[in-house]
């Protein structure tokens, strides 16, 4: 069957004209830190230009209790909170953005879900691989295994984030999400065989509790990144976020999401 060679080629084809839509990304965390919001504008898919940052927006996060967290533009469309802030579990928040000559943008209210603890972070399933740089030499790869107890009384949605030497681990999966539909209330072992570490690297694992809306949004986003174009993919479509213009006249879609994440963290060094 080796003769059956498939083939992938980069092509240039005519695409529908760009809509240059406002795109927003913000995850308000439960950690006391500088919170961030990214505001940009989409560009034509094949356009040479990367996404266009929006630098002149007024950005605030508001809680149901009336607390207002203000943001200032730093660079490249990233806005940082003017003070350190920790989202409070159980509280509801929303994002409000004003851009010159545009109606105000608001997200839906998002609840900061209950934090779920990481019970145990260990290293497992290490196996030896041939070193591509030194023929004949072998090296060990370590994979994190995390135990956590899922709360039985609630529907829970999770996102996992990994750091390798303090850098976000984005390959091969930039989005790892889970719901508890199939293991509600259990002590869940998670093998992350897609995230390999070399010896002596620092492994940071973040377990983020997210809302059902955020989970659905990220799942669709993930599908759009990984399975498009395959026979087991679905037909691509708009991914609706939770942000919209506060105006009856402007119906433009707003891309992206404002979410809340209650974070548990654990760290280990990759060692046999």
């Amino acid at each position: 069957m080796s003769a059956l060679l498939s083939c992938e080629e980069v092509v240039i084809i005519e695409l529908p004209s760009a809509q240059n839509l406002i795109t927003i990304e913000s995850w308000l965390s439960s950690l006391n830190e500088t919170q961030t919001v990214r505001v940009s504008q989409s560009t034509g898919f094949s356009e040479e230009l990367q996404v266009r940052p929006v630098t002149n927006a007024e950005v605030v996060i508001q809680s149901r209790l009336g607390i207002i967290l203000r943001f200032s533009h730093t660079n490249n469309g990233i806005y940082a909170s003017n003070s350190m802030f920790a989202g409070e579990v159980g509280q509801e928040y929303r994002l409000r953005i004003s851009i010159e000559n545009e109606p105000e943008l608001r997200s839906d209210w998002e609840r900061m879900e209950d934090q779920v603890a990481i019970n145990n972070l260990t290293l497992v399933n290490s196996f030896e691989e041939n070193d591509p740089d030194n023929a004949g030499e072998q090296f060990t790869i370590f994979f994190p295994k995390v135990l956590r107890r899922d709360p039985a009384e609630s529907e829970n949605y999770y996102r996992w984030v990994f750091y390798k030497d303090r850098m976000k681990y984005t390959e091969p999966e930039s989005i790892t999400v889970q719901d508890d539909r199939l293991f509600n209330g259990s002590l869940i072992p998670n093998d992350f065989r897609a995230f390999g570490y070399n010896e002596e690297q620092e492994i940071i694992v973040e377990l983020q509790s997210i809302t059902k809306g955020a989970y659905n949004f990220l799942s669709l986003l993930k599908e759009q990144i990984t399975s498009l174009g395959t026979s087991n993919g679905t037909t691509p479509a708009n991914i609706m976020g939770n942000i919209s213009f506060q105006s009856d006249e402007v119906n433009d879609l707003v891309l992206g999401y404002f979410g809340t994440v209650a974070i548990s963290r654990d760290t280990v060094i990759a060692r046999p």
Partner: protein, 866 residues
């Protein structure tokens, strides 16, 4: 007084005087008058001579001629021969009655002269007329004709035609045999003239694959002969692409095809992602695809009937055949159990490599390996001419390992028992009982949640079908179908006891799908009408639960306001539909006909799948509270014309089809182990229309066909306005395929297929944006563009082994090689586009066109028969 009357009175007096008593002598005494007289006058005069009883009300007073030297007997004989009256002698009385033609039946079975295999779909015509019939799915036929002398012509594209002279004065049972063209000499084939079955066939829109014919043994990928791939070269039958399972008939979705293997439904007729069909060509006798009109005996699916009949097994001698190629090895044994009375067939097939899509498939199926095997079994017995019993079985499995941790297994199993009984020459019945099961199992040992997932659908079916033939081209059929569906949509349980996943068991479904049907098929001169109805029903029974949603709208699981629970055996809900069917054939002359039809089909079982191509792990669901039955109406009109003594067969046919209650899916629908799957569905409608042109050359060294379809299929949601129709994923505007076989010599033949079609719809992004660390394509409208057009040429050569030994005797064993090249000019046909971030220029989106086969693919198989 007229001279004639005076002559008559004179004769009458003479007779009266000469013959006072009745007896043979008086019957044979010569009459002394002659000339033309009214019948009653002659009879009146005869009644003086002999004792005749008749009623003036029942006979017609024709003018008749009394010849010179006629006797009373000869007059009566002439009258009977001229069909004016009948006479018979009872005691000393001659009783006259009106002439009613006596009719008799010719019935019987048509078989292959060498193998004893039933010949399905052969035409039996009364020479010199358009009247005739076809053998049914069991090779049986029945014709009722007035007494007389006839010439019956038996013809079938795969066999040498034969004529039989019959003097019909009583019912006749014929056990006829035809010789296969592949075993007859070339000269015989050249001298035969193909019949015009396609013109007079009253079921329009039928594709037939004659597996016994060389030109239907078209090698496909890797020199394998495959039934599904052959079907795809015909008009009106399409697939999405090379890595996609399932076929689409006239725009209907994959689950709208009723795939029948010897009466039993086969739920997933594919191996190896649809590249290979589940039907082992070695074990198949006949394949018929009904794309438009479906006789009332068929039902349950919206678009088409794909009827596959397995061989019965050679009833004259034991034969072995088989083959081996790069994909699979197969073998078959068939032979008589009791010569001429019963036979068996066993065949098996197994993939010989651990097949892999590794090097050429999309990222999601990488590291995926597939194995498959299947087994066919058939036994049949014919204790006498009135009874035939069959038992057939099929068992097929695929095993697919994905990555290191996940294994999927799926397959169909079928067991089917049938009884054909001939009650009288006019009344034929087929009664069958079957079990059919499709199931899959997924094992995943990766944490979290190492699990085993299972799903299955099992049918227990009973079908009784009767055909009553009044006279030639006047037949009624009626019957009852009943299938008990047991659907276990899914269970999810821990792989091991200590694994930490919940057990999920989706509600099982039990439904009784029944149908009563009747049809009448008759001719009025050159017009043939086939009409009937099918009353179909589905009754869902408990135990089960029905969720009640807010405003009766299953929008989300959070909208559930109540749950109704039903006890075991309790009726949950029921559905019914009246499906009228009609087809009209107007035979203009022996080479031309016009056919039109209307068919309604109701479908009560649905494949729940939102992926581009259905996966083996998709679930089946019965029509239920929130999933209404699919209703498909189809209208067709076609012109059929043959040229040059039926050597060229052509047809041009248009169709228009509407679908109600078409299932669509919400964006990102979660269909796996979902207890409220109805919340992910949206109900809409679809329509499909098109024109199919088919040209076939049926005889000569060069044989083959051209099929062209111009069509469109589109759908919309019920809530949207009419202009919102969007083309479906499998729409191909132009679809052209042609296949030719050239017989260069007795030992060498070559074939070529060429396929061209418009690229299927695809959705292109307008924008890109960054979210997290990913570059995300943004799409505006679904199916806003198309892939580039697809075209491909395949060539193959078949080399037969020597037929004769050195001493001139015929070899007992036959073997042949098939050498093929798929995609000869290495066209990189685009299967799909990927949209991703450029590695060379991060932040920039690039479009990758992906081709499953980017090169020419050679293949070889070796086949034998002895």
């Amino acid at each position: 007084m007229s001279p004639a009357l005076s002559k008559f009175i004179f004769c009458f007096l003479c007779l009266f005087v000469c013959n006072q008593t009745f007896g043979q002598a008086s019957l044979e005494s010569k009459l002394t008058f002659r000339g033309e007289y009214k019948l009653f006058r002659v009879l009146d005069s005869l009644s003086k001579q002999i004792n005749i009883a008749y009623s003036r009300d029942k006979l017609k007073n024709h003018l008749i001629e009394v010849k010179q030297n006629a006797t009373a007997h000869s007059i009566l004989k002439d009258l009977e021969e001229n069909e004016l009256l009948r006479y018979h002698i009872e005691g000393n009385q001659i009783i006259l009655s009106p002439y009613v033609k006596k009719s008799y039946s010719i019935n019987g079975v048509l078989r292959d002269a060498d193998t004893g295999e039933d010949i399905i779909g052969a035409a039996i015509q009364i020479d010199g007329t358009n009247n005739g019939t076809f053998t049914n799915g069991y090779g049986y036929f029945s014709i009722t004709l007035f007494e007389g002398a006839y010439r019956l012509k038996f013809s079938h594209v795969s066999y040498s035609p034969q004529t039989k002279e019959i003097d019909l004065n009583k019912n006749v049972y014929l056990d006829s045999k035809l010789s296969s063209l592949t075993t007859t000499l070339e000269e015989v084939e050249v001298s035969t003239i193909p019949g015009n079955a396609n013109i007079i066939e009253t079921i329009p829109s039928t594709n037939r694959i004659f597996t016994s014919q060389i030109d239907s043994e078209i090698p496909y990928l890797l020199a394998e002969v495959d039934i599904t791939q052959n079907a795809l070269l015909q008009a009106g039958v399409k697939s999405i692409g090379e890595d996609a399972s399932g076929i689409y008939v006239r725009g209907g979705a994959v689950d709208q095809n009723l795939s029948l293997l010897d009466e039993a439904t086969i739920y997933n007729p594919n191996h190896f992602y649809g590249l290979i069909s589940a039907f082992n060509p070695e074990a198949v006798n006949d394949v018929r695809i009904l794309k438009g009109f479906a006789p009332p005996s068929y039902g349950g699916r919206g678009s088409s009937v794909i009827e596959v009949r397995q061989k019965e097994g050679n009833s004259t001698e034991t034969k072995y055949s088989g083959g081996i190629g790069l994909v699979s090895a197969r073998g078959l044994i068939e032979g008589p159990l009791k010569k001429g009375k019963s036979s068996f067939l066993v065949s098996g097939r197994k993939s010989i490599l651990n097949l892999s899509l590794n090097d050429f498939a999309s990222t999601s199926v990488q590291r995926s390996r597939i194995r498959f095997h299947d087994l066919n079994l058939k036994v049949n017995s014919r204790p006498d001419n009135s009874n035939q019993l069959y038992l057939s079985g099929y068992y097929g499995r695929d095993r697919n390992s994905v990555g290191l941790n996940s294994v999927r297994r799926w397959g169909n199993s079928i067991l089917n028992a049938r009884w054909n009984h001939i009650y009288s020459p006019q009344l034929f019945s087929n009664i069958s009982a079957f079990v059919s099961e499709y199931n899959y199992r997924i094992e995943n040992d990766e944490e979290p949640g190492a699990f085993i997932g299972r799903s299955k659908i099992r049918d227990l079916g009973l079908k009784a079908h009767f055909t009553y033939t009044f006279e030639t081209s006047n037949e009624v059929s009626f019957g009852i179908n009943s299938i008990y569906h047991y659907v276990s949509p899914g269970s999810h349980e821990p792989l091991a006891l200590e694994a930490n996943t919940n057990i999920i068991e989706l509600g099982k479904e039990r439904g009784l799908e029944s149908a009563l049907y009747a049809g009448h098929n008759f001719s009025l001169g050159r017009v043939y009408l086939n009409y009937g109805f099918r009353l179909s029903m589905l009754h869902n029974f408990g135990p089960g639960e029905v969720f009640i949603y807010e405003n009766d709208q299953p929008t989300a699981d959070t909208a559930i306001i109540d749950t109704l629970r039903f006890a075991s055996g309790e009726l949950i809900n029921s559905f019914k539909s009246l499906e009228p069917r009609t087809s009209l054939t107007f035979v203009i002359n022996s080479a031309t006909s016009i056919k039109s039809s209307y068919t309604r089909n109701a479908q009560y079982i649905h494949l729940i799948s939102n992926t581009i191509s259905p996966a083996p792990t998709d679930i089946w669901k019965l029509t239920s509270a929130y999933i209404p039955p699919l209703i498909v109406d189809q209208y067709t009109l076609g012109l059929y014309k043959n040229f040059k003594n039926n050597i060229w067969e052509t047809s041009l046919e248009g169709y228009y089809k509407t679908t109600q209650n078409n299932i669509q899916y919400k964006n990102g629908a979660n269909l796996v182990f979902n207890e409220n799957v109805e919340t992910e569905l949206m109900i809409g409608r679809a329509r499909a229309y098109g024109v199919e042109l088919y040209v076939k050359k049926r005889k000569g060294k060069l044989k083959g066909w051209i099929a062209y379809t111009l069509s469109r299929v589109e759908s919309k949601l019920d809530s949207e306005n009419i202009s919102a129709f969007i083309v479906e994923n499998h729409d191909k505007t132009h679809d052209f395929s042609t296949s030719w076989t050239f017989k260069a010599s007795e030992r060498v033949s070559a074939s070529a297929n060429f396929v061209y079609n418009t690229g299927i719809p695809t959705t292109l992004p307008s924008d890109k944006y960054v979210f997290g660390s990913s570059l995300i394509p943004h799409f505006t409208q679904r199916n806003n563009s198309r892939l580039p057009d697809y075209h491909r040429l395949d060539l193959s050569v078949r080399i037969n082994g020597k037929k004769f030994k050195k001493d001139g005797s015929v070899r007992k064993n036959r073997n042949y090689w098939i050498i093929s090249v798929y995609n000869v000019y290495a066209k990189k046909n685009v299967y799909s586009y990927f949209f991703r971030e450029s590695e060379a220029n991060p932040g920039i989106g690039e479009i990758i066109q992906y081709s499953i086969f980017g090169t020419a693919i050679p293949g070889v198989t070796y086949n034998f028969k002895f």
